[in-house]
Symmetry: C2
């Protein structure tokens, strides 16, 4: 039910856990608000982002089944989160969660592992944002989604792109126009084919993966 939390331990939480359904564009958390809950995505796609006062936006990550929102949380949320598709969530009150930690210290070890993963992903994204070209960024993004789908036991090849071009742009540090042009470039190179706007067929995984690291 709530991925990553064994049933036996979940029992303790059962009364405190809420099962939420959020529609696309629905807000899950707002940057700056007191962080009272932690969420676990059980279905759908969530975007997590930060804003500058003038509206510039950087999407920090797209979360899918099994991912946590509010893992790295302190007093208040450091980012906002919004549903991209219809989303199902488990919501835990943080206080209850801390009680749970007292009783099952092994949970902290698991959370530490998750945090380590997130950190590694974040560092890869920094390399992308700081040093990759638009084409390389999009190639990396597609490979990333493909790999993640496989890890979740879903088909890895027609890559599903539930988010808009604007969202992709805000994740890759580009504009929608540049993202669109990069799609066209990859199409012209015969590396991908767009079945629909939101579904990309990878035609040459190897070449695409090379592009990811600059293999011209």
């Amino acid at each position: 039910m709530c991925a990553g939390v064994p049933d036996s331990e979940l029992m303790v939480l059962e009364r405190a856990v809420t099962d939420l359904h959020i529609d696309p564009r629905g807000t899950i958390v707002d940057e700056g608000e007191p962080a009272q809950h932690m969420f676990n995505v059980t279905a759908g796609t969530v975007k997590v982002y930060k804003l500058l006062p003038d509206g510039r936006r950087q999407i920090i990550g797209f979360l899918m089944a099994g991912d946590f929102i509010g893992l790295a949380v302190r007093q208040s949320y450091a980012y906002s989160a919004e549903a991209v598709t219809p989303v199902r969530l488990c919501r835990f009150p943080r206080k209850k969660l801390e009680e749970l930690f007292e009783r099952y210290p092994s949970m902290e070890k698991r959370l530490l592992g998750l945090a380590a993963n997130e950190l590694a992903v974040a560092q890869d994204l920094m390399l992308l944002l700081g040093r990759k070209t638009a084409k390389e960024r999009l190639a990396t993004f597609l490979i990333m989604l493909s790999d993640r789908a496989r890890r979740l036991g879903m088909p890895s090849n027609p890559v599903s792109l539930p988010m808009s071009r604007t969202d992709i742009a805000d994740y890759l540090g580009l504009t929608t126009e540049t993202v669109s042009r990069a799609f066209t470039q990859l199409k012209n190179l015969k590396l991908i084919r767009l079945d629909t706007t939101s579904q990309a067929q990878i035609l040459d995984v190897e070449a695409l993966r090379d592009l990811t690291e600059g293999g011209s």
Copy 2:
């Protein structure tokens, strides 16, 4: 001695801990190598970075006293680390550390907190790399160093810049030339003054902090 680890717990490790001194440009860990150790910086500045095959580099962070290298580690290091200044380190074998976790589960909570911090810093850097201008990036960098110095109980105003312009560029996702020009811009705006290449006086903290978020 080893910041962040209480003496009582440290006793258990004492035979396994090594006190290291590394000269500037000395390598601490190499990306891809098996992650056998975890390090705690006790003095000096360390840069942590990732490379692309063609040599493009992104510095993930500058670590100072109290910071950990290898916190987010899995099988092998996901990045390289190198001394910027003369550095003092505590080195823990990871195996011993895990034994310690068995005995003192509270240590995991502390590490989780540290990881949460790192994650928040990483997310701020993503916003910087994806969405800020060169001037804003440098302003953010200076404020960041100033705030960190204060947290470490050191003077926060003449900001110490032990790293080269190239290192700053590779951290901010820019070139050395652009970093240099951004310094000149901030000087012309009377927001900072460069006492020496490696020491910047902040003349107007408020204005600099505004620039950080686009308050042109």
